[in-house]
């Protein structure tokens, strides 16, 4: 472990940018705000590149203790930063994609009144995310964890005057908190049993322990609780419900936070804790099952959505499921690989969707789009590349990472593989459906726009009367182009197990298991066979989307009608939100209203204050009769008082 004194600068530069923009942005010019935001974010990216260039696996991992923090007997926690191969990958992804999205938001949010606030929040998010990624102990990671939740809340509810946006922000934060509860209990268990939250100390303590095959035990508990936290942050079953609602935020937010970086924090945390998970097979199985089921579940919901951002949101949930499936079967490096490629193509998808929305004046309903390939060729091209990537078509990036996951899943159990393949088919289908509905055919929006006259999707529209869809400015297109290139070539990083070998020192235990699995599963012929299956499945999805949305556009409506209730259930997200509302929200709200509000707050606390005032009033009401103006009653009181005094004296004398 070698010290690196520059590690702490990387998170703190965006924090400085956030502070400057936050405090002084209101009165600054937009150019100044832009400069501050981009300079600080870019500086962090530059530092990350420098560190990457000088990174050597021999002297890794790097660390740096910034300051003391907690001391409680033998337990201590410091503000420490840590950089190993895993952190480096995450660091480059976060700073790189983050910087590109910052540039994009300059164009997207330029006309917004809260422009300075937006850039400040984005920088703040970068600070917290980098703290999360570069932390040396679970507690500093938790700071980042909570902080990105906060930034997410601020950014989802950015247009806070809109009720749905404010509610979505609240929902995201609260559901996240439920996950954080599990995370915290895992931390407490670690403190109690390992006496520390520092990564090296915990993992050194865990390493000599043998895998818990009985299914019970400390490591399984920690693993499951960490998974609860990850499920909250990374939107897995059952805590995924906040992510579709989070689309209320501006599109760059959806791209950065809910596609590329924040939601991947859960995957990163699970990968970082691989030492613990490796020794708790049941927890790993739970992770894999949750991931697989979420992937399939979310993909099925995605087919029926009509809002372009909602489709991408459910796609994100589904792809995150793939990452957890990978971690669950022990293929941690494959999960991180998919995390990286997903950041590229999903970030690109969201940014391109934002470009589409921006270009047609704020409309997000795909049924009102169509034919946009002629109006926005660059957006069409880049989005197409991203769609090919996510569908898993070679040689784009998504193919390499998704196939790696499917291959390793097959090594664990063919069930995982089968569900993964079906999900890949559905993914390809809904992504190409999105492409055909948005860019294919004729533009359906003109008539609808004239009828409406004024769009109601967020204050980022161009205003009424701007009927013709148009391409976005270059400041928005440049990041699209860069991400498209990355989506194309990003996969080659993993060619020939290079990625895996790079991350090997981090996942020492996992690598051994993986090598066993790959040698067990046999020859590369099987691997190529499975590869062919997944590619053809992707192609089938494309074909089906082409048939349904390009050749015979009236078919989908008829199919939906004939499926009736099933289609309705899928279109309404299986009514999960309504189910949660009945099961959890309503009892809580009712309980709070009746018990906590009426009974405790009004009945006890308010009543105590009011009743003490009442008592004072009653006492004074009775005492005022003493002042009657009647001389004889005064005389009587004097006599009574004298009698009491005499009695007391006699009593004291007798004692």
């Amino acid at each position: 472990m070698t010290p690196n004194p520059y590690l702490w600068l990387i998170p703190l530069l965006p924090l400085a940018g956030a502070a400057i923009n936050g405090f002084f942005g209101r009165r600054s010019s937009k150019k100044a705000i832009t400069t501050v935001a981009l300079v600080f974010c870019g500086a962090a990216f530059l530092m990350a590149l420098l560190i990457a260039a000088r990174f050597s696996s021999a002297s890794a991992p790097y660390y740096f203790n910034l300051a003391h923090w907690l001391r409680a007997g033998s337990f201590q926690v410091d503000f420490s930063f840590y950089l190993d191969q895993l952190s480096l990958v995450m660091l480059l992804v976060v700073t790189g994609v983050g910087f590109l999205i910052h540039i994009y938001s300059v164009g997207y949010m330029w006309d917004d009144d809260g422009y300075y606030r937006f850039m400040s929040y984005m920088n703040l998010f970068m600070f917290f995310m980098l703290t999360l990624v570069l932390a040396k102990n679970y507690l500093v990671m938790f700071i980042g964890w909570e902080g990105v939740g906060l930034a997410s809340y601020l950014l989802i509810g950015f247009w806070f005057t809109k009720d749905s946006a404010a509610a979505a922000g609240k929902k995201a934060f609260i559901v996240n908190r439920i996950g954080d509860f599990g995370f915290l209990i895992a931390l407490f268990l670690m403190i109690k049993h390992f006496g520390s939250l520092d990564f090296t100390r915990v993992f050194t303590a865990v390493r000599p322990l043998s895998p818990e095959t009985a299914g019970a035990g400390l490591l399984t508990a920690i693993g499951l609780l960490l998974m609860v936290g990850a499920a909250g942050k990374s939107a897995q079953i059952p805590l995924y419900v906040w992510l579709p609602d989070a689309m209320e935020g501006p599109t760059p937010v959806s791209a950065l936070i809910h596609a590329a970086t924040m939601v991947t924090a859960g995957v990163y945390m699970v990968a970082r804790s691989s030492m613990i998970f490796e020794r708790a097979p049941m927890a790993m199985m739970v992770v894999a099952i949750i991931g697989t089921l979420t992937a399939l579940f979310a993909a099925t919901i995605g087919i029926a959505q009509t809002d372009i951002k909602k489709v991408l949101a459910y796609s994100t949930v589904s792809q995150l499921g793939y990452m957890f499936m990978a971690c669950g079967v022990g293929a941690f490096s494959a999960g991180i690989f998919h995390l990286m490629t997903h950041a590229f193509f999903k970030g690109l998808l969201f940014l391109a969707a934002g470009s589409v929305i921006h270009g047609i004046g704020g409309e997000q309903d795909m049924r009102k789009m169509g034919g946009l390939r002629t109006y926005m060729p660059w957006t069409f091209a880049t989005m197409g590349i991203a769609t090919l990537a996510i569908a898993g078509i070679p040689p784009f990036a998504g193919f390499w990472s998704k196939d790696e996951i499917l291959w390793r899943a097959f090594g664990a159990s063919w069930v995982y593989w089968l569900i993964g393949v079906i999900t890949a088919f559905i993914t390809s289908f809904y992504m190409f459906r999105l492409m055909y509905m948005t860019f294919g055919g004729e533009y359906r929006g003109a008539a609808a726009q004239e009828a409406h006259g004024h769009n109601a999707h967020g204050p980022d529209n161009h205003g009424p009367g701007h009927g013709e869809p148009h391409e976005s400015p270059w400041v928005m297109l440049a990041p699209l182009a860069i991400l498209a290139v990355l989506s194309l070539v990003g996969g080659f990083v993993g060619y020939g197990n290079r990625f895996e070998h790079f991350l090997a020192p981090v996942f020492r235990g996992a690598t051994e298991v993986a090598q066993e699995a790959s040698s067990e599963a046999g020859d590369s012929k099987l691997e190529y066979l499975l590869m062919a299956v997944s590619v053809s499945v992707a192609g089938l999805g494309w074909l089906l989307a082409y048939l349904l949305y390009s050749r015979r556009p009236q078919l989908p409506a008829r199919i939906a009608q004939s499926l009736g209730g099933l289609y309705q259930a899928v279109a309404h997200k299986y009514y999960i939100d309504e189910l949660y509302a009945v099961l959890f929200v309503k009892p809580l709200v009712d309980g709070s209203t009746t018990i906590l509000w009426h009974d405790v707050d009004q009945g006890v606390i308010d009543a105590a204050v009011n009743d003490s005032a009442d008592v004072a009033r009653h006492v004074s009401d009775n005492v005022r009769h003493m002042q009657s103006g009647n001389l004889r009653s005064y005389a009587g009181w004097v006599a009574a008082g004298g009698a009491v005094v005499i009695a007391y004296m006699v009593w004291m004398g007798v004692r």
Binding site: G629, L631, R632, G636
Partner: protein
Amino acid sequence: MIPLSYYLLLSGILFACGVLGFLIKRNIITIFMSIELMLNGVNLSFVAFAAQWHALSGQVFVFFVMVVAAAETAVGLAIIIAVYRTRETLNVDRVNLLKL
């Protein structure tokens, strides 16, 4: 030879009569007389103890009590005269201008 308790009993009775009159009577002058009665009952008690313990200071104290009683009576009667001039009554229940 009179037992001490007789003196004290008499003193107590006098005091009790004084208190009763003080509380029950409506005529201001009667109330004042009751006050005097109370004070004299106490005087008797003082003298009895002084005689029993051969302590002359008991009698000197009676002296002071009487002086104070006289002063108080003087002032009290002056007040009665003033009240009578304004309220034209000696009924203590009618003197209720102190009521708020």
